[in-house]
Symmetry: C2
Subunit: 397 residues, 2 copies
Amino acid sequence: MDSENIHVPGFLASGVSAGIKETGARDLSLIYSTMPARAAGVFTTNAFKAAPVLVSMERIKSGRAQAILTNSGNANAATGAAGYQDALDMSKSLSSYMKIKDDLVLVASTGVIGHRLPVEKINRSIPAVVKGLRPDGIPEAEAAIMTTDRFPKMAYQKRYIADREISICGIAKGAGMIQPDMATMLAYAMTDADIDSVALGKAFRYAVERSFNAASVDGCMSTNDTAIILANGCAGNRMIRDGSQSFRIFRDMVCEILMKLAKDMVRDGEGATKAIEIVVTEARTRGEAKKIAYAIANSNLVKTAFFGGDPNWGRIIAAAGAIGIPLPVDKVRLSFEDVPVFRHGRGIDSNLLSLKTIMEQEEIKIVFRVGMGTKDWRVFTSDLGFEYIKINAHYHT
Amino acid sequence: MDSENIHVPGFLASGVSAGIKETGARDLSLIYSTMPARAAGVFTTNAFKAAPVLVSMERIKSGRAQAILTNSGNANAATGAAGYQDALDMSKSLSSYMKIKDDLVLVASTGVIGHRLPVEKINRSIPAVVKGLRPDGIPEAEAAIMTTDRFPKMAYQKRYIADREISICGIAKGAGMIQPDMATMLAYAMTDADIDSVALGKAFRYAVERSFNAASVDGCMSTNDTAIILANGCAGNRMIRDGSQSFRIFRDMVCEILMKLAKDMVRDGEGATKAIEIVVTEARTRGEAKKIAYAIANSNLVKTAFFGGDPNWGRIIAAAGAIGIPLPVDKVRLSFEDVPVFRHGRGIDSNLLSLKTIMEQEEIKIVFRVGMGTKDWRVFTSDLGFEYIKINAHYHT
C-alpha cells in the first residue's frame, strides 16, 4: 500500500504535536468529514471507562458525527469528574474553532492512565491541527494516535458497489492483547459510501466482532478501547440498506479492512515473534467455539511453547479441557497446519519432523476440532517471549 | 518443621527410584495405611483427565482407601485406552504384592504427557517401594512425587480434638499455576483422626477450595491434578461428625495444612520473585468476589508490573473492570497493603514513596473493595518474570 494515495472523498485528516508526549512526537490527531457523516461505534465494555469513551458513547447514539479528535500520551482514564470535564473541554475547543456542532465531535485518548489530561496543551494546538487538515493527511492522523506501536496500521480499499466506486480506509493503534498501556486499541474507518444508520451499525459490529474482538482475546478490553466508522455519502451511490447484496459487499469490505488492522496489531505485540491463528471447528455453539479458542489463545503455557518453538500439543488440549465444556476426548482432533497431532484420545508421535518445520514459521495455524457440532470460531494471538516481560515490567504509571 | 519428626500413627511411607526420571532421582512414591482408611478426594475438572485420575476418581467413591501409589516423570495423560490399562496394571502390581484389595489402591502420575507409562519399570520397583515403607518415610514419599519443584512441600500439625491428640500431615508437589508440565498439582493429607465419611469429604473440599483452588487460579486445572485425604482412625477419638465443634476444629486444621502447601506452591512458581495475595471484599456474591480476584491474579499486565516493582494500580482496576460485572466506579477502593491508591473514581498520587517500599517486599497484599455488598474472596498468585519464559519456552514434550 502506497500511503501517499490513501484518500477518501470528503474526508480530511491531520496530526500534530501538542507537547503531551515528552518525545515531542505527534500526539493530536483529527479526522474531519466536510459534511456530517453517519456514524457507528463499538466501545470498551470495561467498567472503568475512560472519560472520552463516556462522551463519545453518548454522542454516537445520534448516529451522526463529523470529527474525531484524539490525543495520545495520556488516556484521561481514572480521572473522575474532572477528567470528564477535560474531555468535554477538548471537544468544545475544536467545535468552537471549527464552528461545528459540539455533539458531532467524538473524542478519544490513549496513553498513561490516572493523570489529568493536559487539556490546555490540546486547546492551544487546535488551530494547528485544524490548519493541517488535508485530503492526504491520514498517515499523519495515524502517527498521532500511536503510542508504543512499532509501525503504523492502515488499510485501504476501493470497490464498485451499486455502480459507484466506494472507498474505505481504516487506521488503528494498539498491539493486540499485549500492550503496555492497558492494551488500548483505537480504530477509525472512513468511507464515502451512502449507507443507512442501521446497516452501517450492523456491518461495523459484524466486522469488529470478527477482527478486533477475535484478536484482542478474552473480552479483556482496556478502559479506552474505541472503534468508530464514519460514512459521509460522498460517493453518491444508491443508499445501501440492510439485507441487500450491496450491504453484504460493503460489510465484507469493512471486515477485510478491520481484519488487516487486527492482524497488524497482533504482529505488533511487543516481543511477539510469531502470529498464531487458532481455529476451532465442530463446536456445539459459536459461544463454545469462542470459549475454547480463547482458552487456548490466553494460555501462557501455550504462548511460551510457541515462543520456544515447541510443538507442545499437550498444553493446547489441557487449556481447552480446563474450561468446563464436557469435550468428547475420543472425538477431539488437533492439528498444527495440516499435520495431525492428537486424535482418538492420544497423541500422534510420528510427525515430529514436520512439526519442527511448522514451528519455525512466522505464522502458524492450529486447528482444534471439537467433534460435537458444526459451529466454528477463530482468534489471532501471538507468542509470549522475553520482550513482553521486559517492556511490561518497566512501563511505569 | 523438623522433617525427622513427621509421623502420623498408622501410616507408613516410602519413595524409591524406578528409573522413570532420566536423572535417576526418586520417582515412585507409596503412602500406606496399616488399616483401610476413610478417604476423600478432589480431582481435576479438566475434560482430558489422565488415566490414573479416572481410576482413582472411580475407586474413591467407596469412601475407603489404603494406599496411594504415585509415579513422577510420566503423567500417563493423553494415552488413550492403553494408558488406562497401564494405570490399572501399576495398581494391580501393588495390591498383589501387598495382598490388599485392589480397589483400595489409589494411583496418580505426574510428568510429561502423551507418552506411554513405562509400567514395567514401576512393576519391577514395587518390592523396593514396599520394603522401604517406614513411619518416618514421608519426606522420601514427597521427594518421589516432585518434578520441577525447587523445594519439598510438607506441613504437619498435632492438636487435641475430642480429648485425643490428632495428627495431620500434608505433602504436595507443584508450583501454582505456572508450572511447565501443565501445572500438575498433587497433594496428599494423612490423619489418624476418626471421622465419618461425610464430615471428612466436607472438611477436605472446604479446605481445598480455600487453598489450592485459590492458589492455582482460574480453574485451569491440569489433566492430572489430584488431592486426597486418608483418615485411619488410629487416634481413637470419639468419631468426628459434621456440624460438631470437633468438626470445625478438624476442618480448620486441614485448612491450615493445605494453605501452607498452597502458599509454598505459589512461592515455588518458577521464576516467581514475589508472592501476591489478592483480597476482594464488599462484593455482592462470593462468586463475583472470586471472579474479580481471579481476573486480577490472571492478568499478565498485573503480574509483570509486580515483577518490575511498579505499583501500576491502573492495570488492576482495568483487569477487574473488564470481566462484565457492573462495578460502581465511584465506590471501588483499591489499596496496596494499607496504602490507598484508588477511590472516588480516580487515583491517589500522594503515596508513591510508600508504594515503592511496598513493591520491594517479597509478599504483597492487594485489597480491592467492590463497594457493592459483603462477600469476599482471596487468591494467591506470583509475579511473571523472565525465568517463567525461560523455563516454559524450553520444556519439551
